[in-house]
Symmetry: C2
């Protein structure tokens, strides 16, 4: 199999759209989530993100990267206004609707309605959940970092509520996100289901990892 | 199907290991990467990360979250010392070796040797690649953000070199990371292969997304 080597000069020479597709596939498989938010007037917003990442377990923190100059700027504005948001896993039956939320709708149009998804509200926070999503959680805004290098923003939230199907909770504490049919994303537009290869034991210097299952 | 709702009080009451497994599964599927680094004396280091994320395409930027107080602190120290690192996709044939790099080895032991993986060097940067990895790229340190809320660190690198199999480059610019057998991770210890559901067209307000393939 032939190996290709690109330098930064080769990357710079790529046509803009090809480069966007190329660089977006470098980071590997990505989470697929819908972020729900609300402004102070009660307008709801929903946007798809592939940049949600685990920040810490104690306290429970999850973050995401927001590009402020695009269709997702309403998400950032709403979180700054009302101090909360929801993250909703995308599963196989709703990934096309989830993708549609990336279209550039004006602020007075809710992507929930435009994409055919349903708002669901909790008493713990004003931001809307996605009713059709199976695993979802609510967060209070915790910390913001503005990245100087390209104007994107890292938003970190503290998890205050988690909603999930009973049959997805595994004995060792993890949620079985494959059982929930949560999808993975690669690049800008490719959606994937998964098959578990195995779980591996906690690694120690003196021994080789075993399969747990 | 019964739905369960956990509040932040329920999360706090969980036993520490159960909570770590639970919260780590919230963010959805994660990338699986080996980060290669080197100190100023030439000692190489290799560590598995599931927090690598896309930051931007132009300039080409990729980031990851580093926990400074664990087995991965050598990665952070090395990047601060020599200003560069490599990110190497984990594929199905090497995921058990990759997992083994998470064991806590002393600084004078290279995880390459301990895990049975091979260093590979480029003329463009001193940090080591993983020879067995199929898709891999080299980065110059670009920006650091220390997260006040839990002491983790966001490291962002500028991509300066990309190495990949010729048969993985798709006509629209993306790399076919499924073809390269790149794995996805869920939670702390679960490894997954993927099956593409479809690629979807660029979303516009007035139309429903179509399948490209």
């Amino acid at each position: 199999m032939q190996t290709i080597r690109f330098s930064d000069h080769d990357i710079l020479k790529m046509e803009t759209r090809l480069r966007a597709a190329f660089i977006n596939s470098l980071s590997g498989f990505k989470s697929g989530s819908l972020i729900g938010s609300i402004d102070s007037k009660g307008n709801t917003n929903l946007a798809i993100f592939s940049s949600v990442i685990h920040i810490g377990s104690n306290p429970a923190l999850v973050g995401f990267i927001n590009r402020p100059d695009t269709a997702v700027r309403h998400t950032l504005e709403n979180i700054m206004e009302t101090n909360c948001f929801t993250i909703n896993h995308i599963h196989q039956a709703i990934y096309k609707k989830a993708h549609q939320t990336s279209a550039r709708y004006p602020k007075d149009i809710s992507e929930f309605e435009a994409a055919g998804l349903t708002t669901e509200f909790s008493t713990l926070l004003p931001a809307p959940y996605v009713k059709e999503s199976r695993i979802k959680y609510g967060l209070e805004f915790a910390e913001r970092h503005d990245l100087k290098i390209n104007g994107t923003v890292l938003i970190i939230g503290k998890v205050v509520e988690i909603i999930f199907p009973e049959n997805c909770l595994l004995p060792h504490g993890a949620l079985d996100i494959e059982q929930a049919e949560t999808i993975a994303i690669s690049g800008l537009d490719s959606y994937h289901s998964t098959n578990q290869l195995s779980r591996l034991t906690y690694a120690k210097p003196e021994k080789v990892p075993d399969k747990i299952i």
